[in-house]
Amino acid sequence: MTTYKRNDGRKLDETRPIKMKVGVLKHADGSALVSIGKTVALAAVYGPRELNPRHMQESDRAILQCNYTMAPFSTKERVRPGPSRRSTEISKVTREALEPALFLKDFPKTTIDLYIVILQANAGTRTAGINAASLALADAGIQMRDLVTSIAAGKIEGHYVIDLNGEEEELTDCDLPIAYMPREKKFTLIQMDGKITKEDMKNVIKLAVKGCETLYEHQRKALLEKWSKEGFE
């Protein structure tokens, strides 16, 4: 396992450089900017706030609305503005990755609106988006069972590798993104593209969990930073 050289010199279980910052947007109730390697995700949260039109309200809980968008300049080929099939699916799985961490029953008839914009894309945009969204929810002061962390892992030339970058995405036997609540030890997103054995799959998931634990530390640090700052102000 030690023989494989990753194209950017990383160790097999090493994520790309991570930067996380919360409270980056003035107008949102919560926000966060997350960069993982060259992938940059911005998340904004509004709410819980009254949901209109009323017929969309749920009498016994809040609804979470989630929109994932790529900035047109975020990729090599320009992304055409407007929803695509891909972005619609990612918005859905992102929402479903975050819902398990929220106490939606605490806010009947309201909506929590979550907007994710990918400013720069180099693999792992949905996972970066989920990390940012989770931080933004915490930043908005919305109580959560656990932070949701998210990362992908894969298998290249027989080696399990974490946090694929753009070129690795072309080489990997599988691309397996997860979202994970580290304290709860529960998965809230699982997707996979590829073709691997069941054993491989389990190992890839285990590696991704390890990555999530790393991300968790970054997330906590980012929140702490903000809270400690606020303390001073």
Partner: protein
Amino acid sequence: MNIQTSYIISHLSKGMRLDGRKPDEHRKIEIEIGPIEQAEGSARVKLGGTEVIAGVKLEVKEPFSDTPNEGVLMVNTELSPVASPEFELGPPRETAIELARIVDRGIRESHCINTEKLCIKVGEKVWMVMVDIQPLSHEGNLIDASGIAAIAALMTAKMVKYDEAGDKVIYEKTDESVPLDDIPVPVTFGIIDGKLIVDPTLEEEESMDGRLTITTNEAGDVCAMQKGGACSLTFELIEQAAEMSIKKGKEIRELIRQSL
């Protein structure tokens, strides 16, 4: 928790389901090959009371610039109100799009379609394989019904002719099959009370916390996974689902083969 959900959970704690099935048991699967003559390939699949038709059409298109010598697959689903009073007219929404993409990903990632054989002229003309799924009755687990119908339709699809001079497709079926090397099969599990139930019915869908779909191929490899719904799940549950999906996938693959 509503009464139906409690009822389902209490049954499940005894290893039983409301319709008498065991947790790892599919409803009766019926596969009819070729119901749509006009399509290059088609299949109608009944999964208990759930019913879908998949039809394969071929078109000639320019290839994507990063794969100039490869044909293209597209899976599309329209959730017509004929199949359920809950479905509405209009462009596909979240549910329809996710359904199509799960089926699409299972087929695409298994690499069962030999896309290079679908190249007509490198960088200029390739075949586009369009699989359209039309649900006729939704009583739960549209994903598996659609996935089975899609692969069965593809397995029996015939190539048509391309008139290069006139730059048009002549819609006459040839003897040549659409080039296919594998049979990916999705198996969907409902997750309820921390347990897995294979092939959930509509009432189980209404009560369950979420679902997990795992697509496996002939060799028993995993080609695609997708969790759906606002639930969380443990590693053990995923492991268990993977085991089962391989086993159930094999059974269904056999059924598909017999139906040809």
